[in-house]
Subunit: 326 residues, 2 copies
Amino acid sequence: MSHRWVLGVDIGGTNVVVGAVPLEGGPPVASISGPTLAERGGDATVATIAALAAEVIETTVRSEGGDRADFVGVGVGCPGPLDLEAGAIVRTPNLPWDGYPIRDRVAEALGLECVLDNDGNCAAYGEWWIGAAREAHSVLCLTLGTGIGGGFVEGGRVFRGVNGAAFEVGHITIEVDGRPCPCGNRGCLEAYASATAIAARARARIESGEASTLTTYAGGLEGLTARAVSDAARAGDGLAAEVIEEAGRMLGVGVASLVNVLNPEYVVVAGGAAAIGDPLFGPMRDEVRRRAFEAAADACRIVPGSLEGQAGVIGTAGIFVAESSR
Amino acid sequence: MSHRWVLGVDIGGTNVVVGAVPLEGGPPVASISGPTLAERGGDATVATIAALAAEVIETTVRSEGGDRADFVGVGVGCPGPLDLEAGAIVRTPNLPWDGYPIRDRVAEALGLECVLDNDGNCAAYGEWWIGAAREAHSVLCLTLGTGIGGGFVEGGRVFRGVNGAAFEVGHITIEVDGRPCPCGNRGCLEAYASATAIAARARARIESGEASTLTTYAGGLEGLTARAVSDAARAGDGLAAEVIEEAGRMLGVGVASLVNVLNPEYVVVAGGAAAIGDPLFGPMRDEVRRRAFEAAADACRIVPGSLEGQAGVIGTAGIFVAESSR
């Protein structure tokens, strides 16, 4: 039996991951990562992508049969903002290649048709395509990491807005004069519920003199992570538990607003911090139930992402399939 | 020249308005209102609608020619929540006919095909069809009245969500533990920027002893309206001006969140309180510019509604046209 494949390319600030995803959807059969080395420029990263892609294709053909002609295209996912029409990077903090036409360069380097989308859209599409919200009416995806990104898929279509800037869900205001956010504003959801915000909140409370087992955290307070806070909470640390609960509640405030606006069938919470699990999801669900209208809350399933680690590769490949079949 | 028409029926808690709207879009040529008398039950209101419709049809035929067969259908708009699938009222505060199948009853009474939608969706569709956002890529409409309603149209399609509960934009949280909202929560946009909230805020500040020309408002403080506050602000009342500015700013906080999520081409602010104009729109636009991402803010035009008084009739007729041509 012969298969057809799409390459998924997930470009992060630190690593690039390339994988071979079956055209009909499924986990990647080969997936390899390498350093992005963004400071060397876009062409260097494209060369890395080409090398990884060659290896992925070889591995895939060796294990699954077929040949290079079975690879029909490539999807590339990047942190935004992006110029989707031009297929270019635009002032992305971790990819300092303003205006670099990443889509066309990858297409040239691989000799394959290429589509580009931002990582939030890719994550949402991946969860809709073969993940936690498979073929649902609609799915809102939030990714909790350094920041909070997201995307929305309705009727199998990625919602991009009038110029590709939609679903910056980390930057809805939940507290008018609240905590400062890296974006320069105050009170954004991201300032309360990203992995960064969870670590920062624990650090600030410890530095103000509150007691916690994290005071003696091996990595030092500066190296504190959301994961460490979550681990401490599980081990019985009261301060850590409060920080996680507060983040979950604030996440619920933001999700409730989005549920009242979008009335989605699924909210998928993905990204590293989603691994905290129930201590985060419990307060979040309670707050959504408290704040969202009953009809919308009843209709909405709030679930963790199911593609952890592979969401980028799968989602970008899925977006290629969706776009090329339009 | 012979025309074809759609009847638009706008059911409010106090009045019902029926008008004849050209099938191709345009202002109603005949528009008549009568009392809803909701407490007499749904059948009585449907009888009122039938009487008004007969009069509208007669007036239209007399002035424009043609005959009753030129009326191809009827659109009905109601405050939500509604069961759009069943075409029924569901626990709408001002229409106490829980479960009443308004769509089919109107269809039977008029002998015309009927579609039902909530007033926020109708307002948004009307502004997209022939109003302030004519045939735009996308339009988010907010209606500022007793509460804050809204709707969203993208690519000519009304966004309804998985079970018709979408775009309750008055109930996004802008302040976690903020002002109490009629919905039972705290910190909803509606608690800061509806016409009701504007009047309540001025009243509360005056009752706490602050000086204002509104202290001697002829209608008494209990009868204070957003219109009166706006008039006082225009006449130089400092407290009234501050109340309007604050409402505008808070509206901008909510609109900025929605712009970051939806990246719409237009935000249309309609409803009675939109008539306040620049004193409300100025602070709102400033706050959107401050809080929304540049790409999304640059792409978005924030404008007042252009169908005041007729939005309901036009929008409901438009939704009939849109639905029946699908």
